[in-house]
Each structure stands twice: as C-alpha cells, then as structure tokens.
C-alpha cells in the first residue's frame, strides 16, 4: 500500500490545479485509511473554509493567488531557468541576501527584492534553505503586520502597501508547493514544521492586536487569519504537507502540530481547529496515536491514580487540549476513534492485519498493551473526553470483550494493575454522567452466576466477574472515603444544618442522586451480593446527599418494599444513617406525605407505602407484647433499633394523621384499605386541632360506610369477601379508637354515623328506602335527577311544594285526580341478611364507640363478659342526631307530652316521623341503643310522641280482626314500647304491655298504647328524673317518686281479663 501512495505523489503530468490535486489525494488517503468513513468530509470542510477566506478578499487577489501555483504546475521545468545562474552570480546572491544590499549596485534591497533574492537562493543553493526559510518568517510577519495595520486603520493606507508583499508570498507559496509536490518526502516534513512553527509564532505574536478577536472566539479568529494571505498560504502549505505525509509518516507532522500547540496554546487553536476539521479522522487518530506513543515511551513510571495535569508529560496534555477543542464539532468522531482504539487494542493480534499499516500503533504489542492505561489517563485528564466515551464504553463491554480485556491485563504487573484500578475507580467516581449505567454494568457483571436468578447479561467468565467484584468493592471503598472525609472538616450538625464551607462534589454520587428510585428498586430485588453493594451505595449516597437524599431513599424503600425481608433493608439503612443524621424518620414520613399530596405515587405504590408503614407500626406493637412477655429475650438489642424506628414512625405518622385521613376515601379500595390499616394501628397524636379531628372523623365514618357497601358488593365468598370483611373490622377498630380519643371525636363520629346511616346514599345498606321531604319514598333516584331541576318547573308546581307543615293546615298530595292514588314504588328490598349484618355492624360500632369512651373515667372492665354500659352522653348525641334527622322541626322542642287529643294538630309531622321509621328500619335499633344509654331517650321524646300518635290513630282506624294483620304497626308498637321501657320512660309494668300486643285486636292495642301515652303525659320524660347510681355505673329512674301507676294499669288489667284465655301466661308481667 505504501508504495502505491508514494507513487501518487511523485509528479504526475495529468493532474489538475493544485487544490484539486490535494483534494484527490485526500480522497485516496481517506478511503484507504478508513473505508467506512465518508471520504468527502475532510476535503469538503477544507474547501469550504478556504472559499470563505477567498470571498473576503477582492477577486483580483484570489486570481493571483490561485494562478501562481497553477503556473508552477503547468511548467514542471520552470525551475531550470533560475538554475542557470553561475557560481559567481550565486555567490553574489548570497552576499546580497546576507547583507541586504545589492552586491553589484551597492544599494539597499527593498523587502520584496530581498525576498525575491531569498526565493532565488531557495531554488538554487540548497545550503541556504534554513536561512531562507528563516528570512521568510520575517517577510510573512511583515505582511501580517501590514495586513492587521490596514485593518486597524480601516483601509486608510494605500492598498498598494499590502499587495506588494502579497505577490511575494504567492511566489514563495508557489515555490514551496512545487517543491512539496515534486519531492514530498524531503520537503513535507521540513515545510510542515516550518509552517506550523511560524503560524504559532504569528498567531501568538499578533494575538494582542486590536483587530484580532479574542482567542476564545475561534470562528472570528479563523476568518481573520484565513483572510490574511500570509497565514492562509502557510495553512495551505501545511495542509499540503499533511496530505502528502499522511501516507507514510503521519506521526511526524502531527507531532509538530502538537508541540506547537503546546507552545502557543490558546492562540494556536484556530490552526488546530482548521486542520482538525479538514482532516478530522486522521488528525484525531494521529493525535491519539502520538499521545499513545509518547505515553508508552514515558512508561508507567510516573503514572499514578491521581496525576496532576502539570506534572504529566506535555504531550498528553496537548492531546487532551486538541481533542477537547475538536470535541466541539467532532465529538462523534472522537468518540468513535477512542472506542476504536480501545477495541483494537483488545482485538487479538494478528501478525498481518490488513487494515493497519506498518506504522500504526496496532502493530506493536507494547503499544497495544499501553492503550488501555493511556485511555484511562486521557479520560482522567479530560472530563469532556471521558464523558464522550463513558456512555458508550459500557455498551461495548460485552462478555467477549471483557474476556479479551482480562487476557490483556493479565500480562501487566501487579502494581500497574493496582494503579489502573485506582484510576478507574477515580474516574467512575468523577464521572458526571452515565454513572447509573456503569453501576448497573458493574453489578451485573460482578453478580455471581446463579441458577435461580438470571441476570440481564449471560454470566461472564469467573475471572472477569472477580475483577468486577474487586472494582466494585474498591469503588465503594473509595466513595466511602470520599464521603466521610468530605464531611470531616465541617461537623455535620443536626438534621438540616448545612455546613458553611462548600463540600467537595463527587460527580458519580451527584448523578446517582437522581437515580435513587431505581437503585432502591434494584436493591429490593435482594439478589445475592448485589443488594449488599447497592445497599452500601445507598448508605453512601444518603450520607453524601444529606438529609434530602436520605429521606428520599428511605421513602423509596418504604414505598417499594413488598415484604418484611425487603422492608428490613429500610430498617438497616436507618440504623446505619441514624448515627449521623437525626430526625430521619419524621423527615421521610413527611416526604412520603408530600408525595401523597402531589399525587406522584401510583396507587400500587401508595398502597404499599401505607401497608409498610402499618407493618412497621404493627411490628412495634408485637414487639411491645413480646417485650412484655420476655423482657430479656435474646436479640432484643437487635430489635431495639427496629422498635425505636417503629416508635419514631408511629410518632411521625401520628403527626401526619390528617394527611393520611383523606386516603381512606381513595378511589382504589386497596389504597383505602391500606390506609385504614395504617390508621387503625397508628397511635393518635397528643394534640390535634379540631379541624383535623373533624376531618378525620368524617373520613373515617365515610370510609366505614364505604367498606360496608364493599362488603355487600364483594359477596360472601372468596378473597374479596375476606378482605372486605377485614376492612370493615379495621374500620370499626379505627372508629372505636378514634371515638375514644376525645369527646369531640366521639360526638362527631357518633353524629356522623347516625347521620350517615340515615343518609339516602347509605340508607339501603340498612334496608332503608329513600324518603322524600314528606317522608314518602321517592320512585327512584334516577327519575328525579337534581341537575335537571329547572326553576320554571318548580314554580309551576308551587302549590305542591309549599310546605305547610307546622300550621294547622295540612295538605296531602295523594295523586292526580282521575289517575287514582299515587303509585307507591315497590321497595326493592335488598338482601335481608346483608342488611341485618350491616345493621349489626353499625350497632356494634356505635355501641363500642359509646361504651369505650373515656368520658366515664377509669372504667376498667371488671367483668369482661358483660359489655360496658352505654355512655349517657354518647347516647344523648345519638338521640339528638336522630331527632334532627327524623324530624328537624321538633329539634330542641318540648320534651313533655301534651294530651292525646292535641295530637291531631301535629298530624302531618307525625306522619312524617312514621314514614321515616317505615323507611329506615335501622331507626329502631338505634332507638334501643339510645334507650340503653339512659336518660338519653328523653331527648327523643318528640319523635316517640309522633310515632306513638300515628300508631294510635292507625290502631283506632284499623278494621282488621287482629293486630297481627298490620305487621309493621304491630312491630313498631312493640319496639316503641320496649324502647321506652328500656329507657325508663315507662315503668316495667307499662313497658311489658308490648308482649301482649300480638294477641290483641287493634282496638285493644290502641287502649294499651293510650295508657302508655297517658302515663308519659302524666310523668314527663325529663332527664332530671334520672339519678346516677354508682353501683350500677349508670343513670336510673326511681319510679316510686312519680305518681301512682295503678290508674294507668287499669286498662291493661281489663284487657287482660277480657282475653284471659290467650293472655293468661302474661298476667304475672303486669303485677304491680
């Protein structure tokens, strides 16, 4: 291949203009060096910049400029003319050149004559070469000075001053390019060195000029210099040399470029940029190759893990500089080149690899071995390059490559390996991007092959795995040092105290901060060694990132853990961190709450988080129990941390209870279930604002009804049923605990429970029907949608909607004339067993709330068999709520009863009350509860009275033979009377009358009920008639203080007598 290229460079007759010639050579070199690259790239860029330079000048000049080499090209033998000088003349020329004075005429030579003389010598006296080139430096410099001066004076000076040197420069350029073309081997190294050196000198010398742009603005600089004939000609000469030399000794000219670049660092950049963009592929690869050779020749003697930039050999410094510069536009090529270097250094060495020429570094095993350390070193010195490579490098490290790498590195001495390892660790810890991928790669590779868990990559070779393992451990160790040394100087105070001095940044950890969530997820997979590493890393990350990251991490773990083992990782993390951070748990919980508020958690995560928190709290409780059982059990110390953590979580959760409260009503049953679990086991806060409490209680009650509904929907069997059942019990527990918290919550809960039970949305749960204002069940909720109501419609129906209740008139809307009575909708009775169960549950809740309240002080259940009595206050709340809901009109009304006749004034209200009781079967049980909490039933007196009044009128008007023919009324009568008896509104004798109702005729029932009414009218149902008996622990009424009962018993006895045949067995119940 080599001779072929050189043959192209020897003068050929058929070549076009010189640029075409150069370009064609570029094409060939490019295509031969790397056929996969687009060959046109270099020349195109080159051509573009050159044209830009030409455009800036006037056209005449460019013609001259382009014409001159053309002439030289056309007449290959033109050089014979000056060679005709005789020895004598040459001697004269030399003298003139040296002295600057025309040797014959004795006058001083002008600059251009002097330069002409130099060019003649260059053509004829080889020994003068050095001196001539040196002299030409002055000429070029002169031209640049004039050029810049003209620019500065805005072309005030005569334009002739510039042009007189320009033609000389064209001439020199022509001669040089001709020489290079004719004998590239001899001239290219010489001219390239000279040109580069001169360029460097010129650009740094004139860098301070006013017109010269700052060295940072490369493009302007490039424009300026390319518009100057001298520098442009130098640049072109250099390009020509480079193009010629690429074929056989590219290193030499790039060496020169590197050296000069080091010398004139910022000002020379434009040259490197131009050359680099003209020959990106070559320059980059050559620069790398040069650097590698240099690196190799300097050996690994001073190669430490942390090498200061200054102390390193200058070449690698300038390699870094140049590549960094080119990285702006050619980062892709640089990355490719670096990766290619890496790959080729690993590729098995073939003695005669066709792709590499004999001069390239791939041929030398020593260089190949040095490539990886070199790249590491390079990366260590330039974050740019490292960043470019690191991301793709990881992709490259397939198992096969790893094996090769291992084979390569096995040959290195131990010490060097350690150095490299250190360097690699340092690099990883300093890498600003891609840390997560690197980490994943390392962990994947280092994780031992397992039968059970198959990682994403096939298991690598054991040696490779060990290497990665080692690297990972070193990395962790290194990070550990960094993290803990970092905070050494400034004592990290309590939570949240930021140290005053800026702390050292560790890019790796900095980047991983944003990957906490995936890291946590991966840790929680609990794969063999991996989770140990990752866990350690998470600890470091938390310490590094301070409280924010620590809380984030903990929060993530809490959110993502799915079972106790995984959750244990969170406790471990906390145990580690608790030594250096205070208040972590509250912060974590607060963070979780914040996440809940911002809806960043998915349902699943939210549920998991709540369950995990609940689990933590439950574990605490179990711990307490266990501790109570066996105080000195082994492992108590280990559990200590956990329990303290659980306690912290408890307190933290209790602070945020009101934040968790709304979750009870979350749309996802699972979430609300989790929430209720958490809340049901969470301790309650010492103090809480009433608003929060009310909110919570409302949520809890609503949730309770929700769970009831879900239980009904879930059906009887299956997992759902079990879960919904559990949800109900949790909800019950929550309500109970919450009711016991304070009087306020008790009241609120009970009130809301009752209201909720009667609410039309929940009524059907308890077998109720939806009643309209008049107490009659409406046809169907869907028939009268609220939104469809129009004002006009309501106005049209004005007469029917006016409420006359409370006045003596009553209007009953019984239907439209001609269409008969209003059709009563057939109540679609829900599942009776479900209704019963729901009612039972509701009652259980209410009873528990009422009885477990702490209002009665220390009321330890002396007899666990007997349920604790109903709290009177709580019962009063129920009573009041009942009244308010059943008949808002009579709330806070008169408690004492009027004569029976007066009942006809309140017919409408009474009917409403009766319909309520009809619609809501749950009312009677509630009344019973109220009755149990004496004297609360007194507060229901209006309702009782209304109900009794309607019952009386029903039995009065009833023409049935037996009372059992109107079952509801019979049942209602029985229940009413028994309730009043239980509530001690009636003495036992009267209270027992309901036992006889079923055996009587309606009229007789009316008589008995009338007796009841009379008694109540005579002995008003007033709370002050009750006294607290401490031995029973409840209020009781002493009937002896009231008037004689016997006169109310007379109707009973006469009814008994009349029906003695059927009621004989009940006689003893009515003994006074």
């Amino acid at each position: 291949m080599l001779p072929v290229l050189t043959a192209k460079e020897v003068p050929t007759s058929g070549c076009g203009p010189p640029y075409g010639c150069i370009c064609s050579e570029f094409h060939e070199t490019n295509t031969q060096k790397a056929p996969d690259k687009p060959p046109a790239r270099g020349p195109e860029t080159y051509g573009r910049v050159r044209c830009a330079g030409l455009v800036l000048k006037d056209s005449a000049m460019s013609v001259v400029f382009d014409g001159s080499p053309l002439k030289a090209m056309q007449s290959p033998h033109s050089h014979t003319a000056p060679a005709a000088l005789s020895a004598q003349e040459l001697s004269q020329e030399i003298k003139s050149f040296i002295s600057g004075v025309d040797a014959v005429q004795g006058r001083k030579l002008s600059v251009r004559e002097h330069a002409r003389c130099a060019v003649r010598l260059l053509r004829s006296v080889p020994a003068c070469r050095g001196a001539v080139l040196e002299h030409l430096r002055g000429v070029y410099d002169e031209h640049v000075s004039t050029f810049l001066h003209n620019l500065e004076t805005e072309g005030n000076a005569s334009s002739g001053a510039t042009s007189n040197l320009e033609d000389i420069i064209q001439e020199v350029h022509g001669v040089l390019s001709e020489f290079i073309r004719l004998n590239p081997r001899a001239w290219a190294p010489l001219v390239s060195t000279w040109a580069v050196d001169l360029l460097g000198q010129l650009s740094s010398k004139h860098a301070g000029r006013r017109v010269a742009p700052h060295s940072s603005s490369l493009n302007e600089l490039l424009q300026l210099w390319m518009s100057c004939a001298a520098t442009r000609s130098l640049m072109e000469a250099y390009s020509q040399c480079l193009a010629a030399m690429l074929a056989w000794c590219p290193d030499a000219c790039v060496d020169a470029l590197l050296d000069t670049s080091v010398k004139h660092s910022p000002h020379f950049d434009w040259v490197v940029a131009h050359i680099g963009s003209a020959f990106p592929g070559t320059i980059i690869s050559r620069v790398l190759a040069c650097g590698l050779k240099d690196f190799c020749s300097h050996g690994a003697k001073d190669q430490g893990p942390l090498v200061e930039k200054g102390s390193r050999v200058p070449k690698i410094g300038s390699v870094v500089g140049i590549l960094g510069h080119l990285a702006v536009h050619h980062s892709d090529s640089i990355r490719k080149e670096l990766l290619r270097m890496f790959q080729e250094s690993l590729a098995p060495s073939t003695p005669l690899s066709p792709s590499s020429s004999s001069t390239s570094w791939e041929a030398s095993p020593q260089l190949r071995r040095a490539a990886v350390p070199f790249l590491l070193q390079l990366a260590a010195m330039s974050p740019n390059l490292f960043g470019a490579v690191s991301s793709e490098l990881v992709e490259l490290l397939r198992p096969a490559v790893l094996l090769q790498l291992q084979a390569l590195l096995q040959g290195l001495p131990r010490e060097e390996l350690d150095n490299m390892l250190g360097l690699a660790v340092h690099l990883i810890s300093q890498s600003p991007t891609g840390g997560a991928r690197v980490l994943r790669f390392l962990a994947d590779t280092a994780t031992p092959a397992s039968v059970i868990i198959s990682g994403p990559t096939p298991s690598p070779h054991e040696g490779v795995r060990e290497g990665c393992d080692r690297l990972l451990q070193m990395l962790l160790l290194h990070l550990h040092k960094l993290v803990f040394n970092r905070s050494e100087g400034s004592d990290v105070g309590p939570f949240g105290s930021a140290s005053s001095q800026p702390q050292r940044v560790i890019p790796f950890l900095e980047e991983l901060r944003s990957h906490v969530a995936p890291l946590c997820a991966e840790t929680l997979r609990l794969e063999r060694k991996r989770h140990l590493w990752l866990h350690q890393l998470l600890c470091l990350l938390s310490v590094y990132g301070g409280p924010s990251v620590a809380t984030e991490t903990l929060c993530q773990l809490l959110t993502q853990a799915r079972n106790p083992e995984e959750l244990a990782l969170a406790w471990q993390l906390h145990a580690t961190l608790s030594s250096c951070m205070v208040g972590l748990v509250p912060a974590a919980v607060a963070h979780c709450v914040a996440q809940i508020h911002t809806h960043t958690l998915g349902r699943r995560q939210l549920r998991q988080l709540l369950l995990n928190l609940a689990a933590a709290l439950q574990s605490q409780e179990e711990e307490k129990k266990a501790a109570a059982g066996a105080a000195g059990a082994a492992g108590a110390a280990g559990a200590g941390a956990q329990s303290s953590m659980a306690a912290q979580i408890g307190s933290a959760v209790s602070v945020h209870l009101h934040d968790f409260g709304p979750l009870l009503l979350h749309g996802d049953p699972a979430v609300s279930h989790a929430a209720v679990r958490l809340l049901s086991c969470s301790p309650l806060p010492r103090t809480a604002s009433p608003a929060h409490l009310l909110l919570l209680s409302r949520a809890a009650v609503t949730h309770f009804f929700l769970t009831l509904r879900r239980r009904g929907e879930a059906g009887k069997t299956g997992r759902d049923a079990g879960q919904s059942g559990e949800a109900v019990s949790c909800s019950v527990l929550l309500l109970t605990r919450f009711a016991a918290y304070s009087a306020l919550t008790l009241k609120a809960i009970i009130q809301q429970l009752v209201e909720g039970a009667l609410h039309k949305g929940n009524a059907e749960l308890f077998g109720g029907q939806i009643a309209d204002m008049s107490g009659a069940p409406v046809a169907s909720p869907s028939v009268s949608p609220d939104l469809g109501a129009s004002l006009l419609d309501i106005n049209c129906r004005f007469g029917t909607t006016v409420n006359f209740s409370g006045s003596v008139w009553s209007v009953f809307h019984a239907g439209v004339i001609g269409k008969g009575l209003k059709a009563r909708t057939a109540a679609n009775l829900p599942d009776p067993s479900g209704v019963i169960q729901n009612i039972q549950t509701l009652l259980a809740v209410i009873v528990q709330c009422c009885s477990s309240s702490s209002l009665n002080g220390s009321q330890s259940p002396s007899d666990p068999e007997e349920p604790p009595p109903i709290n009177a206050e709580a019962a009063k709340v129920i009573a009041v709520t009942l009244v308010e809901n059943v008949c808002p009109d009579v709330a806070n009304g008169e408690l004492s009863w009027p004569p029976e006749e007066h009942a006809r004034t309140t017919v409408e209200r009474d009917i409403h009350i009766r319909r309520c009781f009809e619609a809501h079967p749950v009312l009677f049980p509630l009344l019973q509860v109220v009755a149990a909490g004496r004297p609360a039933l007194c507060y229901c007196s209006a309702v009782l009275r209304g109900l009794l009044a309607t019952l009386l009128s029903h039995w009065e008007g009833s023409r049935e033979a037996l009372s059992t023919d109107s079952p509801w009324h019979l049942q209602a009568s029985c229940l009413l009377v028994s309730c009043m008896g239980e509530g001690q509104l009636l003495p036992p004798v009267l209270a027992n009358v309901h036992e006889a109702f079923a055996h009587l005729t309606p009229f007789e029932v009316r008589l008995l009920l009338l007796a009841v009414w009379e008694y109540v009218r005579g002995n008003g149902p007033l709370p002050q008639k009750f006294v607290f008996s401490s031995d029973k622990g409840m209020f009781c009424r002493d009937f002896s203080r009231d008037g004689d009962v016997s006169r109310y018993v007379a109707p009973i006895h006469s009814v008994l007598h009349k029906n003695i045949d059927t009621l004989g067995h009940l006689c003893w119940r009515f003994q006074l």
């Binding site: 020895a87 004598q88 030399i94 004829s124 080889p126 020994a127 003068c128 050095g130 002299h135």
Partner: protein
C-alpha cells in the same frame, strides 16, 4: 590561542565565530611558518572551535548558544571566502582539519552538520579549495561519516532542489578529486539493498556521464595518493570500482524489483536505468583495462588488489540471495526474470574476468569457484571459472602454485557477507591467495560469440 576565550565570551555568536576564525588563521599561519613538525593544532584551540563555532556546550551550566540559520549562513559565507582567499594549501588543509576532523566527541554532530552545509554551499558557488579540502577529508575519515556527507549532497542536489543537479555535475570539472571521492562514497552508500538505498536517477546519470567523459576520474584518488600504508582504517576504498561493479551487477535485479512494486510508475525510467547501467558497466570495464599500465608504472601489478576478495565474496553471496528471492517471488520464473538474472551473472563474469586479468583482483580460480558455487548456472561464468585450457607462464608472475592449504579449504573461512568490514587495501598480496595466474592482453583460447 587559548587566552582569547575571555575576549570571545561577551561577543555575540556570529562575531565570536568570525573572530575565532580570524585568530585560527593567524595561528596556523604562524605554526606553518615556524615549521614545527608535525603541524598539529593543540587541544585548547580545538576546544575553542567546539565552543564558539560548533556551539557545543562546555558544561551543563553554560547557556546554550545557538546560531540562527541566517547567522549560520553568514558564517558559512565567511568560511567560504576565508578558504578561498587563503593561498597556501597547507594552511588551508590544517585549518580545514582543525575545524572538521572528527574528534569522537559530542561536537561531531554539529561538526558534520556544518561541514555538510559548507560543502553543499561550496558546490553551489564553486569553491574549489573547499572541495579539495573536503576530498582529503573524505579520504581520511571513517566511511560512515563520508557516506553521510554524500547523502546530504545527494539530498540537496538530486532531490530537494529540483534543477540543481547541473550544479553538482560541475564538481567534476571543479575538483576531480572530490568528484572521485564523492563517487566512492555514493557507491558505498547506495548498495541497492532497499528502495532507500537505490541511487536517484539523476545521480546515476551524473555519474555515468562523468565516467564516460573521463574514465580516469575514478582512479584519481588512487593516482594521487601516496602509496604509503597511511590509509586510515575503515575509510573509503581508494577507488569506487568495487561499488560500481556492485551497482552494475545488482542493478538488473534491484531495478526489476522496483518496477514490480511500482507497477504503474513511469514506465520509461526502467529502460533508461538499464541503458545507464549498461553504459556504466562498459565504462567500468574500460577503467579496468586502464589499470595494468598504471599498476605497472607504479610497479604494483600483482601486489595491490584494488578489488578486495572479500567484497567480491560478499557481492556473490548477495547476488545469490537476490536470485533466490527473485525465484521465490515469481514462482514461475518468467522470461523477464530469467533474462535479468542472466544479465547480472553475465556482468559478474565479465567483471571478474576483466578484474582478474587487469590485476585488480588477486585470487585464484579455485577461490572464485568457491565464492560462486552457490550461483545458478551461467555459461559465461562457467567459462570464466573454468579458466583457459592451457597456461602461459609469464616472467612477471610467480609460478602457478597453489598452496595445499588453499587447495583443501579455499574459501569457506571467509565471512560470507561483510560489506562494511574493514577492507584495507593491503599493499602486499594475501598469503592465502598467492598468485595471479592471468596476464593482461592474454588471448582467450575460446571466446564466445566470436
């Protein structure tokens, strides 16, 4: 002389060098006039030269003084005129050797660089005295350095500066002695073993035209040098004959190889080169034919081997290797290859025959046979090796006797390939090769083609 150092130190580089040259001139003139024998420049002066002209740092602390290229050119110009204006050869020689004789120290590199530039410049501006001095230098200096000087000249005039060839060509008329030494150095340098060591075409043309114009040119050094044993060890050969023969013999193979590798190179260069080498071969043979008279005049016939046996042996082994390679590279030997190798062998046979006949090569046919045993068959060579059928004793030659030692183990003790081993031209014939059996002008009993 050593006391002027203090006065030189403060001066700038160029004027210090000028001053030193001036003092050196005076010093040597005085020395020659005083007639001290032998005229020898003392070491202090040499140190001064190294310090102020060659700018070798005296000690590590001293700052390195360097001349710019311009200053160096001025210095060279001064030197040129200095040597030009010095009328006395002795002084000139002494001065030249004081400046440029190698001292075997670190200054030699800059000495060589300066010398190369000076000679190159002298060639350009035709400074005969300098060329003469350089010719003497070439005679006395180790061949490695001579070769380097020649290399610089060839680079300068044949490759670097196009069109400057004619300038170099003129040295033939300016200084034949230098020209002869130059040819010797060039033939030593380019041994045709690789591409780099193949003479440029321009150089080849030049040499051929020189020798064609004046065959005696190659013998000038031999003719002018005293036949004392003062030839320094490892210097160049007295004549370029050995090198020229090597060129002619190896050329057909070497140039064929070139042509093979540069398939599409200038196709007209190759026959050109062949023609040139052919002419050169003829010229060389003609030079050989001149030798008997000269040797006889000097009374050295049969006693001075201008062509060393060792170099012939090396050439033969080289040739056989080349032929082997040629065979290997072209598995089926083409007619081209065959013709080329036969041409090379023919030339070898001719050269051997003429050299032996002209008394330039002193050896027996037995020795030759041993040397050439590995070469492939060639009719002419066979003839040369087998020798004439009958012997004619001549009074000038010693009787034809083979030492039994030589007969039994004639050659294999020789190193097979030692092109750069010391090849001193021994005035006396080897004891091992006692006789030269052939006479000049002896009629061949059998002459092919006649």
């Amino acid at each position: 002389m050593g006391d002027i150092r203090q006065s030189l130190l403060p001066r700038d580089v160029l004027s210090a060098a000028k001053e030193l040259l001036y003092h050196l001139d005076i010093y040597i003139c005085n020395m020659v006039q005083s007639g001290r024998q032998p005229p020898q420049v003392d070491s202090k002066t040499l140190d001064l030269i190294e310090e102020f002209i060659l700018h070798t740092p005296k000690d590590r602390n001293a700052p390195v003084r360097r001349m710019s290229a311009l200053q160096e050119l001025q210095l060279l110009e001064i030197m040129c005129s200095c040597f030009q204006e010095q009328s006395r050869d002795t002084v000139r020689q002494l001065m030249f050797s004081a400046l440029f004789n190698l001292q075997g120290n670190q200054a030699d590199e800059s000495r060589m660089a300066l010398l190369s530039k000076l000679v190159s410049m002298a060639v350009a501006v035709g400074r005969v005295p300098i060329l003469e001095c350089a010719a003497t230098w070439l005679q006395r200096t180790h061949r490695v350095y001579c070769v380097r000087l020649a290399q610089v000249l060839v680079d300068d005039y044949c490759s670097m500066v196009p069109g400057s060839g004619p300038t170099l060509h003129n040295i033939h008329s300016a200084s034949p002695r230098f020209c002869c030494q130059f040819i010797t150095a060039v033939t030593t340098l380019y041994d045709l073993t690789s591409d780099e060591l193949t003479p440029p075409m321009e150089l080849l043309q030049m040499i051929v035209s020189w020798i064609q114009d004046d065959p005696r040119l190659v013998l000038i050094t031999f003719l002018n040098s005293p036949l004392s044993g003062s030839q320094p060890i490892s210097s160049l050969d007295v004549t370029p004959l050995g090198g020229l023969i090597r060129w002619c013999i190896k050329a057909p193979l070497a140039y064929r190889r070139d042509k093979k590798q540069t398939n599409n190179g200038s196709s007209d260069g190759e026959p050109d080169a062949a023609r040139l080498f052919s002419a050169l071969h003829l010229s060389v043979l003609q030079v050989f034919m001149l030798l008997p008279n000269i040797l006889n005049e000097k009374g050295l016939f049969g006693r001075l081997a201008l062509l060393q046996m060792e170099s012939v042996a090396a050439l033969a082994s080289d040739l056989s290797r080349l032929l082997d390679q040629a065979d290997k590279h072209t598995h089926a030997a083409t007619s081209d290859t065959h013709a080329a190798s036969q041409l090379a062998l023919d030339r070898l046979a001719q050269a051997l025959q003429v050299a032996m006949a002209s008394g330039a090569l002193l050896c027996s046919r037995e020795d030759l046979r041993a040397i050439c045993s590995r070469l492939p068959h060639n009719n002419l060579l066979q003839l040369v090796l087998s020798g004439p059928v009958m012997y004619y004793n001549n009074i000038h030659t010693p009787p034809l006797t083979y030492s039994p030692h030589a007969a039994h183990s004639p050659i294999p003790t020789l190193p097979p390939h030692a092109p750069h081993t010391p090849l001193a031209a021994h005035p006396a014939p080897h004891a091992q090769y006692p006789a030269q059996p052939f006479m000049t002008g002896m009629p061949f009993p059998f002459r092919p083609g006649h």
